[in-house]
Symmetry: C2
Subunit: 200 residues, 2 copies
Amino acid sequence: MDPSRLEQQLAFIKELDRLKLVQRKSFVSGTRRLETSAEHSWHVAMMAWLLLEHAAPRELDADRVLKMLLLHDVVEIDAGDTLLYAEADAQRAQRERELAAADRLFGLLPEDQGPILRALWDEFEARETPEAKFAAAIDRLQPLLLNFMGEGAAWRRHAVTVQDVYEKNRHIAEGSPELWAAAEQLIELAVSRGYLKHEF
Amino acid sequence: MDPSRLEQQLAFIKELDRLKLVQRKSFVSGTRRLETSAEHSWHVAMMAWLLLEHAAPRELDADRVLKMLLLHDVVEIDAGDTLLYAEADAQRAQRERELAAADRLFGLLPEDQGPILRALWDEFEARETPEAKFAAAIDRLQPLLLNFMGEGAAWRRHAVTVQDVYEKNRHIAEGSPELWAAAEQLIELAVSRGYLKHEF
């Protein structure tokens, strides 16, 4: 007998539990405990909700932004997390693993529901729609904020320079010039306080 | 000078980081690591999205359900988590702490935004609207699922009996008779496998 819709949904929901075991590269502020991808996903969803008024263009489909951010890291359940500043080879290998993970994970859901999530994940990854650009901006602003709060400990650990941070975060401007201006201020403040360096 | 809107929003967003330090009573499945409230909040938001079709009545404001679940535990940043099965005195003291936390935390936001979050939190707590009832159902189904996946370790640790579980979870039916039927099956399976007992 085919599993019922609810059984299929619960199978996916059980898998989601494992995103709590994927560790990111940022510390929870005030600690040396690495943030998990599930925690990050919650934090960015809250941020997108609260900061939506700073999006450009202002009229976004808020529901799509929120859902994109809730699910954007789900593929890490199979694929793990890779440092944003990793080499191109590592990034490509990660991309392969994430595509396979998307096939497997979204494939657990009922056949009318899996493709909705897959389309949202693809949209986020392509970063072409205003919703995806804003979601991507939030996804970058969050670790920037955390690393600043942690006085740069995570940047130092991975020898991330000011130039790296500018290069990888500049696209925040595509989702929100206002948030990019705030991010630039934060980066400059991080430099002036010695949290971030021009070279190691 | 008054802080800008964005500064107020970022102050709140920084506080949110601390929900990653609040430990719940459930284990992440396959581990002896307690789930954090931030992880739980993400998990229930995903569940509400995926399971919305099982809500009664079917036509809910999905956006409100999602946002209610994203923020429902934010007050634990100041108030901590209390066992669902705690004594009435402990529950009352927790309620006092949560109200004070709501005043402080939502008060950090711009004056047109804080009350929106506060109203959603109050709505969740009152459990009177269909949206709040469904959100509450999901909030209960999630630890039930986790504790089942963990073969009852969290129930045993806190000497939670079958009767306790029925009493505290029965209101799932108000949000979704279908999900309550599934929950009842899960509870009965937990009993038959010895994960849950009638007494300790």
